[in-house]
Symmetry: C2
Subunit: 472 residues, 2 copies
C-alpha cells in the first residue's frame, strides 16, 4: 500500500470518530452577525485553536476589530511549497427557528435517501469544509508523521458579515501569510458526482432600506385612503428595480459589467443545469433578456431582496397603517462593478421614488468586488487532477453567484493564485433552516484534501508563475 493509500485508508477507518469531532464543532453557535453570537464565536475559536495545537500546529486566536481569526502554522521537513488554507468558522443566524426540525446547534443525524445526513446550522457552510481540511491534515500527520508542505491554516470568524476586519488583518500580517498558493475551502461542487474549482466569484454588498412615513402608526380605517403607506411605497420601489425584460432598471448599475465571451457562454450552455440544482426549482424565476441560467448565475450581476418587514407582523389582525417599512437587499457584482458606485446609484434610485413627506434611511457600508482567477494556473491543474482521482466525474472549472471576499483580498495582497474548491451542494440548505451535510461527502472531501496536499507542484522545481493571475 502506497503512503497515499494508507492515509486515505485511515480517513475511511476513522470516519466514526471524525464525525464525532465534527459534531462538537457544530455545537458552537458561532453566529457572527448577531450580538448574542459573540460568546459562541469566541468559544468556537478557542476550541479550534486547541484542536490545531493538538496536531502540532503553532496555533493562536488572532484578535481583530471584530471577531477573531484562528491562525495555525506547521512546517514540513520536506521541501515543498508554502500553502495557506482558508476557511471560516462563523455561521449565518439560524432564524426562523420554528422552521427547524431539530435545534440548529444540536446536530442531529438522520438516515435519508441512502445518505447519512447531519442537520445543523453550519453543517455545510462552512464548518464541513473547515473540518474536511483539518481531518486531512490529521490523517497526514498520523500516518506519514509529517505534512507534505509548510501549511498555514487561516480560519475567519466574520465571513458571513462580509469580512469587515479582514483587509486590515491581511495588511498587518503580510509576512505571516506569505505563501506560494492560497486554497479557499469555502466552496461547492457542481453535482454529487462532479467536483469543481471555482474561478469566478461575485462581489457582494448588503443594504438595508427603511421608508418612514411622516406619521407614526395610524388606524388604517381612518387614514388609509389619505395618509401614505410606507409598505406600499416600498413595494413600488422593489417592483421598479427590474424592467419588463428582467434587467435591473437602475441607471449606472451595469457600469463595469462586460458581456460573457461567446466561447465561455457556449461552454456554460452545454452544462446540464438540472444536475447542479439538486432539485431546486427555477420555475417562475427571474429571466434577463433571454440569457441562459448558468450565465446569469456566474456571469451576471443581480439584486436580491433578502427580507422585508413592516406594520403588523404578529399573529393577529391589526388594522394599522404603519409608520415605516424596511427591506434588506444584497447586490451580487461581476467584472469591474464597484461596491461604492452600485450603492450610490441604488440610493439615488430609491430617493427618486420617495414621495413628499416620507424619508428614507439606508444602512450598509463596504462590500467586495468580483474576482476572477486565471484558469491556466498550474495550482488549479494539480488540484483538478487530485479531485479527478477521488470523484466519479471530471472536475468542472466554474463560476459562482456566491462571494468570498477573502479571495480577492488575499490574492491581491500576496500576489499568488487562489484555488477555490469545496464540496457543498445546492440542496444543503445553506443560509436556510435545516441546513445539512452528509457523512459520505465529509469522507470524500477529507480524502480529496489528502490527495490535493499529496500532489502539490513545487514552485522551486516547476516553473509556476510568481505573479498573481488575478483579474478584477
Amino acid at each position: 500500500m502506497s503512503r497515499l493509500d494508507a492515509i486515505l485508508d485511515r480517513v475511511d477507518a476513522d470516519i466514526t470518530v471524525v464525525v464525532e469531532r465534527f459534531l462538537r464543532f457544530l455545537r458552537f453557535p458561532s453566529v457572527s452577525s448577531l450580538p448574542e453570537g459573540r460568546e459562541g464565536i469566541r468559544a468556537c475559536a478557542d476550541w479550534l485553536r486547541g484542536e490545531l495545537a493538538a496536531l502540532g500546529f503553532a496555533a493562536r486566536v488572532a484578535e481583530t476589530a471584530g471577531h477573531p481569526l484562528v491562525m495555525a502554522a506547521r512546517r514540513s521537513r520536506r521541501a515543498g511549497p508554502k500553502v495557506l488554507i482558508y476557511g471560516h468558522y462563523d455561521v449565518q443566524p439560524a432564524d426562523p427557528l420554528e422552521d427547524w426540525a431539530s435545534p440548529p446547534f444540536e446536530p442531529e443525524i438522520r438516515q435519508e435517501d441512502g445518505l447519512t445526513r447531519i442537520y445543523a446550522r453550519g453543517a455545510a457552510d462552512s464548518k464541513s469544509q473547515v473540518w474536511s481540511v483539518i481531518e486531512a491534515l490529521r490523517a497526514w500527520l498520523e500516518v506519514a508523521g509529517e505534512l507534505p508542505a509548510d501549511i498555514t491554516v487561516m480560519l475567519e470568524g466574520e465571513e458571513e458579515t462580509g469580512s469587515p476586519s479582514l483587509p486590515a488583518f491581511i495588511d498587518a500580517h503580510r509576512e505571516d501569510l506569505a505563501c506560494d498558493v492560497v486554497f479557499n475551502s469555502d466552496s461547492d461542487m457542481w453535482s454529487r458526482q462532479r467536483p469543481a474549482i471555482t474561478t469566478r466569484l461575485k462581489g457582494l454588498i448588503h443594504e438595508k432600506v427603511t421608508i418612514f412615513a411622516p406619521n407614526g402608526d395610524l388606524h388604517s380605517g381612518h387614514f388609509g385612503n389619505v395618509a401614505v403607506n410606507p409598505i406600499g411605497v416600498l413595494a413600488g420601489i422593489l417592483d421598479a428595480i427590474h424592467d419588463g425584460r428582467g434587467r435591473v432598471a437602475i441607471e449606472g448599475f451595469y457600469d463595469g459589467v462586460d458581456p460573457v465571451p461567446p466561447a465561455l457562454r457556449e461552454k456554460w450552455e452545454a452544462l446540464d443545469l438540472d444536475e447542479a440544482l439538486c432539485g431546486v426549482s427555477v420555475e417562475g424565476g427571474p429571466t434577463e433578456d433571454g440569457l441562459g441560467a448558468v450565465e446569469r448565475m456566474w456571469g451576471r450581476p443581480g439584486i436580491d431582496i433578502n427580507g422585508i418587514m413592516g406594520g403588523n407582523t404578529g399573529a393577529g389582525e391589526r388594522s394599522v397603517l404603519p409608520g415605516s417599512a424596511t427591506a434588506r437587499l444584497s447586490f451580487r457584482l461581476v467584472g469591474r462593478q464597484r461596491p461604492d458606485h452600485v450603492r450610490a446609484v441604488f440610493r439615488s434610485f430609491v430617493e427618486a421614488h420617495i414621495p413628499c413627506g416620507c424619508r428614507v434611511a439606508f444602512e450598509g457600508a463596504g462590500g467586495s468586488t468580483a474576482v476572477s482567477v486565471d484558469e491556466a494556473s498550474p495550482w488549479i491543474a494539480a488540484a483538478a487532477q487530485a479531485l479527478d482521482a477521488e470523484w466519479p466525474a471530471p472536475t468542472l472549472i466554474k463560476g459562482t453567484g456566491g462571494a468570498v471576499p477573502l479571495v480577492g483580498l488575499l490574492t491581491e495582497a500576496l500576489g499568488v493564485d487562489c484555488v477555490t474548491l469545496g464540496f457543498i451542494l445546492g440542496d444543503d440548505a445553506i443560509h436556510a433552516p435545516n441546513e445539512r451535510y452528509d457523512v459520505e461527502r465529509l469522507r470524500k472531501g477529507i480524502r480529496s484534501w489528502v490527495r490535493i496536499l499529496a500532489d502539490l507542484p513545487d514552485p522551486r522545481t516547476s516553473p509556476t508563475r510568481a505573479a498573481s493571475h488575478l483579474k478584477r
Copy 2:
C-alpha cells in the same frame, strides 16, 4: 341648581377617582386577536360585570363561541325609552412593544401640551368610551337615585377581530336586546372642539396572503438570479393593486359603490380637514382621480396593506432567498359592496399574478358591509342637541373610514336607529404604539353622556318612527 347641573357637577368633582377606576380598566390586557389575550379578556369581562352589578345592574358575562360579552340591564321608574348602549372592552395587540415609551398595560399619566394624558393600549379605543358611559350612569344613579330610562349595556370582547360571534349572539337574544334606540359609543369627534355623530360607517374585511416559492429558503448568491423570489412577487402584486390614477385596479372591486351625491360632497369639501387630522400628515398620501380627502375617507372604499414580512426580518445580515412572503391587507367597503365578492375578486387578481411554480395561500373569512343611518332620525337630533350644550363647536354629522360591525347587525336585527358618537381623536394613536387619551376629554365625554341620557325623546309620547332607517 337643576338636577342635570348637579349630576354634571358630580362628574367634575369626582374626576380623580374616575381616572383611578379608568386606570384599573386599562390594566387588563384584553387583546382579542391573540391566544395569549384570552386570560386578560376573561378577567376584564368579570371585572366589568362586577362594576355594573355594583351600580345595581342585573349584570352577567354572556358566553359566545369566542370571547364573552358583558350584558347589564337596569330599569328606570320613569316612563322613558328603552336604550341599548354598545361598547367594546377588547383591544388591539400592543406590538411592536419596543416602540412604547411605557408598557402598554401599565397606564402612565403625563402632563403634555396643556393636557393630562393617559398612555395605554385601549386608552382611547375603546375603553375610554366604555368608561365614559359607565361613569355617566354612575353619576346619574348617585345624584338622581335612578336612571332616566331603561338601559341595557352591551360590551363586546371581539370588536377588534371583526365581531365574529356577534351575529349568532344577537340572533339568540333578540328579546333581551329589544329597545327603542341603540347608542354606539365606539366612535370619534371631528376635532378637539367639535363633537360628531357618525352616520356612515365602512364595511371591513381582513385578508392574509402568503406567496410560496417552489423551494424553501435558498442561498441568495447562488440562486438569486435564477430562482423566484416570493418577496419580489408579493411586491409586484401589492404595487399593481392601484393604477396610475390611484384607483383600485382589481376588476369588480367597485361593484356596488355609488358616487357620493353632489350636495353631500359639497358639504364635505367645505370642512377644514386639518382641524380633524390633529397633526396627522397626508403629504405623499394616496389620491384618487382628484377626489377630495374627506370624500375618500368617508365615501370611498380602499385597500390597506397592514403588514408585510418575509425572509430575513432579524437584526443581522443574511443572504437568503426566502421560501415565502406574507402580507396582511384590509379592505374598507362602502355602499353595497359585498365582503364575499370583494374577497373573491381580490383572490382572482392575486392568482392571476402568481408565476408558474409558485403558489398562494389566503387566510380570511367573513367581514362586514357598510352601513348608513338616516340623518333625519329624531334620536340623532336629540343627541346632537345634548352635545351642542357641552362642546364649543356645533355637532358634525359625519362619516368614518372605520368599521363597527355591530351597527349594521343590531339595527338590522332590531329595526331601530343607531346613534354612533364618541370622543376619540385622530392623534390618539389608536391601533398604534403609545395610544393615549386625555382626562379633559374623559370628563367632557362623561358629561356628554349625562346630557344625552337626560334628553332622550320618549317614543310613547313623540312620534319617532318605529322602523329602521338603515340603508345598506
